[in-house]
């Protein structure tokens, strides 16, 4: 399978990356990681790319790393459509102080707009 993993540097996105790298290590899926700026994370795209590169090295997984400019949700969906990805994988959101699941803005946009399957990692 041809996976597009979106990472914006928020905690749920980092967890989704760690889980996806473990899984890809077993399944040999083709993985592309799209890094975007998520204002909620407070990290720049460069900082997130560094983090992604570190994780790839540690996990010993090969993936191409891309940058998504502009609106992250639409950039991710457009990239996935244009290049024929089977699935978009994203962090499944954070928990509110009392434990309610809150899907982030990028996840909400992608779920509502992507024509392909979307996985939100919990």
């Amino acid at each position: 399978m041809n996976l597009l993993l979106g990472v914006g540097g928020t905690d749920d996105g980092i967890r989704a990356m760690e889980r996806t790298l473990d899984r890809v290590d077993e399944t040999d899926d083709d993985l592309t990681i799209a890094v975007f700026e998520n204002t909620a994370s407070g990290l720049t795209v460069d900082e997130v790319v560094d983090r992604v590169d570190d994780n790839l090295t540690t996990a010993g997984v090969k993936a191409s790393v891309r940058r998504v400019e502009g609106h992250p949700g639409s950039g991710l969906v457009e990239l996935a459509e244009r290049e024929g990805f089977d699935r978009i994988v994203l962090g499944g959101g954070e928990r509110s102080p009392m434990g309610k699941v809150q899907v982030g803005s990028v996840g909400q946009y992608v779920v509502m707009n992507a024509p392909m399957t979307v996985t939100l990692v919990r």
């Binding site: 204002t39 102080p97 009392m98 309610k100 699941v101 809150q102 803005s105 909400q108």
Partner: protein, 194 residues
């Protein structure tokens, strides 16, 4: 990230627990503050029983969790010392039929309310929520926010009736905010114009 827009004016009078009222089906219900009127352990056991029987269709954003151990974990969090909780108890059965929790989030509190299915549509939610907000005032809670599924018009109108205003409508859920005005006496004067 957390820059919610609150109503300018705090809301007025809410009754504080303990109090008792009669619902629209003539059932007597007491509302108790956890801590002052019912101790945490007792409240935990009553609420475990209530949430074990809770219809999963009425869950909101994964809350309450299902299964007793997950319910106990979650109650452990929302019944911590720094949280404010009120429980509605049916006079006849002495069972919990409703619960409001206020969980601190910086200088704000996140609110949620649950009423067991057998006691819905009887006016209990309104009285329970009013009393919980009165409890909040008594415990110096000022800024209260919540999220609610946008299709849940019954809940949205209940919150509006209490004075909650929509602060974010751009997500899957509506976010609503209310000011209780508990910190009028000095802590927060930035929005006070006299």
């Amino acid at each position: 990230m957390n820059s919610r827009e609150y109503p300018d004016e705090p809301r007025g009078q809410f009754p504080a627990p303990p109090r008792e009222f009669v619902d629209r089906r003539q059932r007597s219900v007491r509302v108790l503050g956890v801590g002052p009127h019912v101790d945490r352990n007792q409240a935990t056991e009553m609420l475990v029983e209530m949430y074990n029987a809770f219809d999963p269709a009425d869950r909101a954003q994964g809350i309450p969790p299902t299964g007793e151990s997950a319910i106990r974990d979650w109650l452990g969090r929302v019944l911590e010392e720094d949280c404010e909780n009120v429980v509605a108890v049916a006079r006849e059965s002495e069972a919990a039929v409703g619960h409001v929790t206020l969980v601190p989030d910086g200088d704000e509190h996140e609110l949620a309310i649950f009423v067991i299915q057998s006691h819905q549509d009887a006016g209990i939610g309104t009285e329970l929520l009013r009393t919980a907000l009165g409890h909040g005032v008594a415990r110096d809670v000022d800024r209260v926010w919540l999220t609610v599924e946008r299709w849940n018009s019954q809940a949205v109108s209940l919150y509006q009736k209490m004075g909650f205003e929509t602060s974010d409508s751009g997500s899957f859920e509506l976010e609503m905010c209310l000011r209780l005005g508990a910190s009028e006496n000095g802590v927060d004067q930035t929005e006070s114009t006299g």
